[in-house]
């Protein structure tokens, strides 16, 4: 096994999949010679040609729609949404087109599309370049939403996403791009729709995904020093959600803290909490806790941004609150 950057794992996967399957193409702003805003596709245009690695005009709704149409008719497009914040412009194509085609047109219709979304805060980019907008996709029946937390899973999940016959929103934390982790060379997949217990524990379950998995592990580490044992679950796929893995853990620990980088209201945490109370109410010893960003836009200034986005400290505090509560 080899250590590599999260961003490199994604690049490698895209390259491998493009080499493996001619039908895989890429669309996005500045992805060709320039290699994309985060340089994920650097060298792709030279290697695979500009027919398959296609720079688009600034037209997120349009090029997402183009990708959907291409997916319906035999290609397997991977779209790069330069910042997830811009997916707002493509929501009609995703909600009213991609997500509905199979249901309404029947089995003949498949939309093997991946929309890669660099997401999240932590870089002081301000209100329109720092959002975690997965809530809109998770709340739309017909979309698969994936959000890896490690380089290993980024590769395995992205392979699965590209090979999936449904539209997949693939969330890449911009902060995680710079993290390194063990990544096998060559082909392997991580299945979509399966959460993973990334740390075993007895006292409280922490549910996280994407960058918050890291913060949750950090919180668990800190709490272990105080003899509090946390089980950490990385959802990995947000939709369809693996409720069972979460429920199993909560039945054991009796407590749950859910964390995410997006704002509190209407977030993924609400859905997780609702499912947990529905499926393991009698096991709960304390009220489920949500740890999320403030119900505000993401401010640019570093001090404000840090105050807005949850961190290990707040997660640990929520665990302690949960333990004190009952």
């Amino acid at each position: 096994m080899r250590e590599t950057y999260f961003s490199h794992a994604i690049r490698e996967t895209l390259a491998e999949e493009m080499a493996r399957d001619e039908r895989v193409i890429m669309l996005g702003e500045d992805i060709a010679e320039y290699g994309g805003a985060f340089k994920i596709t650097a060298g792709f245009a030279e290697r695979f040609g500009k027919e398959r690695v296609r720079n688009t005009p600034i037209a997120e709704g349009g090029f997402t729609g183009v990708a959907i149409g291409a997916a319906l008719t035999g290609l397997r497009p991977v779209v790069e949404m330069m910042f997830m914040d811009f997916i707002t412009l493509a929501l009609d194509q995703l909600i009213n087109h991609a997500a509905k085609f199979r249901y309404q047109y029947g089995e003949q219709a498949r939309v093997p599309l991946v929309v890669r979304c660099p997401a999240g805060a932590g870089r002081s980019y301000g209100p329109t370049h720092s959002q975690s907008l997965e809530r809109h996709l998770v709340a739309t029946p017909g979309l698969v939403v994936v959000a890896p937390s490690t380089a290993h899973d980024a590769k395995g999940l992205l392979k699965s996403a590209i090979r999936c016959d449904d539209p997949v929103i693939f969330i890449e934390s911009k902060v995680l791009y710079g993290r390194r982790g063990d990544v096998p060379e060559g082909d392997y997949t991580v299945p979509l729709g399966e959460a993973k217990v990334v740390r075993d524990g007895e006292d409280c379950t922490i549910v996280a995904y994407s960058r918050m998995t890291e913060e949750s592990l950090r919180a668990a580490e800190a709490l272990a020093a105080k003899s509090v044992s946390c089980e950490v679950i990385d959802l990995r796929t947000l939709a369809p959600m693996d409720t069972e893995t979460v429920a199993e853990s909560v039945r054991k620990t009796g407590r749950v803290v859910v964390t995410e980088e997006g704002p509190l209201t209407g977030g993924i945490g609400a859905e997780v909490v609702a499912r947990v109370v529905e499926s393991c109410f009698d096991y709960l010893q304390a009220p489920p806790q949500r740890v999320a960003a403030s119900d505000t836009p993401v401010p640019a200034s570093r001090v404000l941004e840090e105050a807005a986005i949850p961190s290990a400290r707040q997660i640990a505090e929520a665990v302690v609150r949960s333990i004190r509560a009952g």
């Binding site: 039908r23 193409i25 027919e51 398959r52 296609r54 688009t56 005009p57 037209a59 709704g61 349009g62 090029f63 997402t64 729609g65 183009v66 990708a67 959907i68 149409g69 291409a70 997916a71 319906l72 008719t73 035999g74 290609l75 497009p77 009609d92 194509q93 009213n96 087109h97 509905k100 085609f101 199979r102 249901y103 309404q104 047109y105 029947g106 089995e107 003949q108 219709a109 498949r110 029946p141 017909g142 698969v144 999936c164 016959d165 449904d166 979509l192 729709g193 369809p240």
Partner: protein
């Protein structure tokens, strides 16, 4: 005549079928037999049939909310179309989609859709597939004048243009988007003029004349097929009914309606074929009766079809997760 006689007669019959389909639908809605909504294309049959006539069978068509004619022209069976409008399991979308959300890929019909303008990017993507997969096929993308106001139109047509995709952008300019007259929605007098903003050829055609439509679309399709990129075809036409079943057309003058009815595409075609000696009055009458029969049969089929099973409600949201 440069076209095959039998084919022309067949296409005239198809136009009669479409007209009958829409006229009968209007009655069925009136009687409450059908619920939901529909947008009738009566008056615009020459666009649907004329444009599709210019294609190869393997070419693709994408449609909009006013799509019964497009679908029937591309080979859709009146029975299954009607069944869809009845909300029945035998309909093209199994009752799930209704008038605005049905497709049949085996016929190259990419679908009707309820979001105005929304299928223009999708059709453009289908054209990208044709290009990259080297199928030799072209895409014919139908939309209305109103749809050209949408950002989706602008973004998609621009991509079709810069990538020289094999697609024909076919605008049925029926003078109104719902109640909004073209002249109120746009300052330009012709929609084809907008093609220049994308570096594309734009052509205007009499949308009530099957032959003119077929000719113009044929040229645009060959242009696209030979890798010269899209054309924006603007066909002037008129819908006989209101926008949808609930519209009384208060915004149109009686004179305007009469003038367009005088240029009814079925009437024009019938007169021309009879004048040319390709059709007799009696043969025309027989075709009309055939059309009536086909639609009567479709209604019968739809009526006798089963409702979808509510147990299937949640099936097929995903391809890979059921």
């Amino acid at each position: 005549m440069k076209y095959d006689h039998d084919e022309i007669i067949e296409h005239y019959r198809l136009m009669l079928v479409i007209r009958r389909f829409e006229d009968v639908l209007d009655q069925l809605f009136g009687e409450g037999v059908i619920v939901g909504t529909s947008h009738f294309c009566a008056g615009q049959e020459a666009c649907a049939v004329g444009a599709v006539a210019a294609l190869r069978p393997s070419d693709l068509v994408s449609s909009n909310h006013r799509g019964h004619g497009h679908f029937l022209a591309k080979g859709g069976e009146p029975r299954r179309l009607m069944a869809e409008l009845f909300g029945k399991a035998t309909g093209y979308a199994g009752g799930r989609g209704g008038s605005q959300h049905m497709a049949e890929f085996s016929l190259g019909f990419l679908g009707t859709h309820g979001i105005t303008g929304g299928m223009i990017p999708v059709a453009t993507g289908a054209a990208l597939s044709q290009k990259l997969l080297n199928t030799g096929n072209v895409v014919l993308c139908f939309f209305g004048d109103g749809a050209t106001g949408s950002g989706a139109f602008h973004e998609a047509v621009n991509m079709g243009a810069i990538w020289e995709l094999p697609i024909v952008y076919f605008c049925e300019n029926n003078l109104y988007a719902m109640s909004m007259p073209v002249a109120e929605a746009f300052k330009v007098t012709s929609i084809a003029e907008r093609a220049a903003a994308y570096g594309l050829p734009g052509v205007v055609v009499d949308g009530n004349d099957y032959f003119a439509v077929r000719e113009a679309t044929g040229e645009a399709a060959e242009h696209a097929r030979s890798a010269h990129g899209p054309t924006l075809v603007e066909a002037h036409t008129y819908r006989h009914y209101g926008h949808s079943k609930s519209d009384d057309c208060g915004y149109r003058s009686a004179e305007e309606e009469a003038a367009w009815r005088a240029r009814d595409p079925l009437k024009l075609m019938r007169e021309r074929l009879i004048a040319e000696g390709s059709l007799t009055e009696a043969a025309a009458e027989a075709l009309a009766q055939e059309a009536e029969q086909i639609i009567a049969d479709a209604i019968e089929f739809a009526r006798n079809s089963p409702d979808p099973d509510p147990e299937t409600l949640c099936d097929g949201v995903f391809a890979d997760f059921d």
